[in-house]
Amino acid sequence: MASKILKKPDSFFESFSRRSGPDKVSTHYCPGCGHGVLHKLIAEAADDLGIQDRCVFINPVGCSVFAYFYLDFGNIQVAHGRAPAVATAVKRVHPHAIVISYQGDGDLAAIGGNNILQAANRGENITVFFVNNAIYGMTGGQLAPTSLIGQRTATTPRGRSAENDGYPMRVCELLATLEGPTYIERTSLRTPKLTQKTRKAIRKALQYQMENRGFSLVEILSPCPTGWKVDPVKSLDWMEQQLEAYFQLGVFKDVGDERPAKADPERDLWSANYGTAIDLPTDLDAKLPEASPAPKYRNPSLKIAGFGGQGVLLLGYTLAEAGMLSGYHVTWIPSYGPEMRGGTANCQVGISEERIGSPIVSNPSVLIATNLPSMDRFEPEIREGGLLLYDRSLIDRKPNRTDIESIAIPATSVADELGNSRAANMVMLGAYIGKTGLLSRESVMEALDLVIKRKNLIDLNIKAIDKGIEYGRGAR
């Protein structure tokens, strides 16, 4: 230990804004809770490994749900048990980030049981800290998958019985049978010596991730005096006599040597110019079409809605694809019911000159409505000054809004004349680009080639788009 002063690690926030009162330095954890100690060990490790700015901490559901008030990392709070799935996504998108999934026993072993199995089995290059206190703490001390036989909990007042509740689950042993994981260890916070072992295990797990060696999980047996209904010092006896007797401490798997350190593909990018290097390649702007559309049509958020089977998802997908080919940032999210035909469907599309923060479009700047229920539902959500395109052949009312621009296109009739009413979606697409000039005809044609699987339909779609463009231009 080189440090002359042991104090609050820098990876903690200076003040905690969790509570509104004057106390801005205390956590919300109960006296004697293991979470606080673990947070300290993790924060200290991040300081010493120099990774604070790279850490993304996945906050679970459970007592540690508020870790983001304390740990000054990138933080995401996720749905119950889903931390490994979100950690996977973050790690794959940002391979240089150090992604920490921090989960309790209820979160990891109960509702998220399959999530952790799959992430471990894939050998995701993430670090999981599994805090096992053998009880549901936050919700009031109910039985957890790891509660011991005979343990009294709020839901097993006479003690856990194997007959009724099954046996406590040994997660490390279970995961160690998989090929995927690199490092799995169970430690404890019961004594100073064991705490130091935990401290080392935490560093090793993080180090492995930094070296791209794969999946690590450290299970930490952690006291919950409140849930166990004992005072903090007495809780240590129970840990020794009961918890550690059933959950053996030790390394269950460590194949770090067989999975040698790999270079980090993004490392140079980050270290060269931290903060800007992860931004867009600078040649992106050059790829944008020269003739830019009128300002009000730039960077649209679109909602495209209709019946399932009308091709609204394909319409949006084609727009997004064409946008991407043109050098824009794009997003596309479909939303539909269980029906393949006849249900309602819509998709949300973003096409932007800048990075898109969220793909959710709650107030579209453009609505393309291909049936009446969609127009009824989404017309009120259009932004003031926005654009509404609707299929006049199927929607027999005029828009109610007067603060938006609206264009009626006889899309289904036009498509019918071309020989197939199902090409109405492409008429609408054509009308949109004809009206706004956001995307070139060429980019859409290129996109069509990518998104239309049945090549014999491409001709029809091209005709439909061209017809739409005429209508769109006519409405300028």
Binding site: M1, I5, T27, P31, C33, G34, V37
Partner: protein
């Protein structure tokens, strides 16, 4: 609480009485038994742990036992204290 400033000749532990939640894990684990329960009550309503004022070796065990991030600070011998 230690009152030294500058370069410390002896190790010492500083416990922020207002942050203490009285789990007493530091009292329990301290190998030198130089942390005790104080008689006073802090604003949280607890009798906070308190350094006896002498005998600390700077081992840091209390620091790693304490669940609160900044309730305990340990200054080792030779540390510069402000």
């Amino acid at each position: 609480m230690a009152k030294e400033t500058g370069v410390l000749k002896e190790a010492c532990v500083v416990i922020d009485a207002e942050e203490c939640k009285a789990c007493y894990l530091c009292v329990h684990h301290c190998p030198q038994q130089v942390i005790e329960v104080s008689e006073g009550i802090n604003r949280k309503g607890f009798h906070p742990a308190r350094y006896k004022g002498t005998g600390c070796t700077g081992c840091g065990i209390c620091f790693y036992a304490c669940p609160e991030p900044s309730a305990i600070t340990v200054y080792r011998k030779g540390a510069v204290k402000q």
